[in-house]
Symmetry: C2
Subunit: 217 residues, 2 copies
């Protein structure tokens, strides 16, 4: 069994890589594999093998030399170390196009991120059903979060509403926020925020493409 | 005028911060401001001021001590240095919920990322209009990309189709890919890929929340 080094801090970049390993490992398990070497996993994830071996030491080594890692155990260990081996309750605010897509995104539920409530302030949307949920009025958000002990808030509102929604979530005792709105939100220090910004990625693409074109001209 | 140091490599993390500065600066300009100090910008972006001053040196300093930066010039310089001062042609493959949301996301066009074609392989979707575009069959994708000189491909297919679509895009001469599918894609070295993975963010949230709860127990 893997020894989970709870006290050690896993760096941000390693968490991202663990998420990638996890997806590859789950695919291998579905395909019927039982064991994987760091080289095989490296190839599947497009990372180098020594990076993988290093990352896996964050929660204790348990690969066997010449044999490899037990895929099932490795998946369990990664999930446990990231605390994604249990369900998380989420609430979403802002049922526009993106909000609808997120509410219908089956992979959230498959990975135990259960969106159990959806909020909007548009009277025309209140009462509609999206992804199996009835849309509630945003004014019910704070009470709902507190009552149902919702841990993660998902903000998919227009940018100008994001801060107000974040404030309500913070007051209601939310633990973390996924911010899809294209606006920076301020929260108390004890609330974790992850910003999903499509433009960071697009800007990085544009920049890299332009740089490489300059080199080849 | 800002001096753009084209030869200098801007690190990935700095590009992300520049994107954040840009959004704050654009808001300030809309609100009628003309000048900004690094301290004001730092507060608006929740970054420290020395970090901002350092990042802005990537394309030459031009703040005036005691006066600050000209917001309009700063926006132009950031846009120019990231090569986002010109339009980019994009094509999207996979018109599910997320694809629909992306096609209807006005901010792409506002920021000159013009999605000019959308593809799907579902016969029921071909010919439908989403976000002003008629959905074309995926088999037309490669020809269309080559003919219209599309630079950026957006993949919002189910994970199992992502690699095939990426292969078609690569063959057709795409320069970069935004991959929203929850699967790793392999491409030739000269094609840049940005993976937008919601689970990286969710896993980081879960991990951070759990770590902080352990500390407080």
């Amino acid at each position: 069994m893997a020894l989970l080094l709870k006290t050690e801090k896993i760096p941000r970049a390693a968490i991202q890589r663990l998420a990638v390993y996890l997806q590859s490992l789950e695919r291998m398990l579905r395909d019927g594999a039982a064991l994987v070497s760091s080289e095989m996993l490296a190839q599947a994830c497009d990372v180098n093998a020594s990076q993988i071996r290093k990352d896996l030491t964050y929660f204790g080594e348990f690969g066997v030399r010449g044999v490899g890692y037990n895929i099932h155990d490795l998946i369990s260990s990664i999930k446990k170390s990231l605390s994604i081996d249990k369900p998380w309750n989420c609430a979403l605010a802002g049922v526009g196009n993106l909000g609808r897509a997120l509410l219908n995104y089956r992979e959230f539920r498959q990975r135990q991120y259960n969106i159990i409530a959806a909020f909007d302030c548009d009277p025309l949307k209140i009462g509609q059903r999206v992804g199996g949920l009835e849309i509630l009025h945003t004014r019910q958000l704070a009470e709902y979060i507190a009552e149902k002990k919702i841990q993660i808030g998902i903000i998919s509102t227009p940018p100008e509403s994001a801060q107000t929604v974040a404030d309500h979530m913070a007051e209601a005792g939310i633990k973390g926020i996924m911010n899809y709105a294209s606006a920076h939100i301020f929260t108390p220090d004890n609330i974790f925020v992850e910003r999903v910004d499509f433009f960071n990625h697009l800007y990085a693409l544009s920049f890299n493409i332009s740089q490489s074109e300059e080199k080849t001209v």
